[in-house]
């Protein structure tokens, strides 16, 4: 693994033909360390989210420590827990209200595939209504795997295109 931060910063100082590509990397670097999450917490996974968000596991170390409770100010929608059919339009609306660029994390088995609830009331995975970037397995997931998922998302943000226009 190369040290992306150092290479991006030093590359930016050199004017060259690859400037737009390098700008993507700089934007990715900036965005992956300033994740503002919208915690869409519906069920027991929320306890693990609280654990991971507060001092002991502390996702603030990864730049994701400031939950925003307005979709306008958030850029990662974290769906934590079971989403029922009744709640699905509301979650879709929260997603639609978020500004680009935006990412979605499915936190736990219920958000990913419906979990144990294979019944009339439960949405079988939020990827049926919104595009999901990272699936975090577990029922509920341990904080370590949440941090692993967050780091995977950071890697994804780092390596994707960041068009400015």
């Amino acid at each position: 693994m190369v040290n992306l931060e150092k290479s991006v910063l030093s590359d930016l100082l050199i004017p060259g033909a690859y400037y737009t590509t390098k700008l993507d990397r700089a934007m990715g670097w900036a965005r992956k360390y300033s994740i503002f999450m919208y915690p869409f917490v519906t069920a027991c996974c929320g306890m693990e989210y609280m654990s991971v968000a507060s001092a002991h596991y502390d996702i603030d170390r990864f730049g994701a420590g400031l939950p925003r409770f307005s979709p306008r100010q958030a850029d990662v929608l974290m769906v934590v827990g079971t989403v029922s059919q009744k709640l699905a339009p509301i979650m879709r609306r929260v997603y639609d209200q978020m500004c680009e660029p935006k990412w979605v994390i499915a936190f736990g088995a219920c958000a990913s595939v419906g979990g144990p609830y294979d019944n009339y009331s439960t949405l079988q995975g939020i990827d049926r209504i919104v595009p999901v970037d990272i699936y975090i397995p577990g029922c509920p997931p341990r904080p370590e795997i949440v941090i692993d998922g967050l780091m995977k998302l950071q890697e994804k943000i780092q390596n994707q295109k960041h068009p400015l226009i």
Partner: protein
């Protein structure tokens, strides 16, 4: 009162209601016809020797094809004053209505809405009998035995947006590059 004295008291006090009583696993149980339910409930609430101030729970059982009368309504009553409990069971057919208990116990409002929502049993005299758990657009009653277990009624279209799927696959390739 102990469950045994409670059921003997009940048979003494209400011979006209045609109650069938028993003690099931230490719990007093009384079966009553749906026409007599309001009379029994009124007496259970008002009479000081019973004094059932709380309706703990109201639910239903769907026997589907196993019995000619399809549903059971199950009321759980509790007396704070005497610390005794009573289970009242009523058989209700598919086309029958049950009388409401909302005038005796206000909590019955939500319980009866739940039973209507999930089992489709109607309560006469209920002030606001509409769905409480499921959404208004939902068709049918999901806890009935003939509701298909895998039948879903989504409110919005369930599908991957194809454009986003392509973006995802491109990004996934980038992450898992060698």
């Amino acid at each position: 009162m102990t469950p045994e004295t409670l059921i003997s008291q009940l048979t003494q006090d209400f011979p006209e209601l045609g109650l069938s009583v028993r003690v099931d696993k230490g719990h007093a149980v009384v079966d009553v016809a749906v026409e007599k339910l309001s009379l029994l409930m009124q007496a259970m609430k008002d009479r000081p020797e019973y004094d059932f101030a709380m309706l703990m729970d109201l639910t239903a059982v769907d026997w589907f094809e196993k019995r000619s009368v399809r549903f059971d309504l199950v009321y759980h009553l509790y007396s704070v004053e005497h610390n005794h409990r009573l289970r009242v069971k009523v058989q209700v057919g598919e086309s029958q209505h049950a009388p409401t208990s909302t005038k005796l116990w206000p909590i019955a409002d939500w319980f009866e809405r739940e039973v209507w929502d999930l089992y489709g049993i109607r309560f006469d005299g209920h002030p606001n009998l509409k769905r409480i758990m499921m959404y208004e657009e939902f068709k049918g009653h999901p806890l009935r035995k003939d509701y298909p277990y895998d039948k879903r009624q989504p409110l919005i279209e369930e599908s991957w947006p194809v454009r986003n799927l392509q973006i995802h696959m491109d990004e996934a390739k980038k992450i898992h590059r060698p």
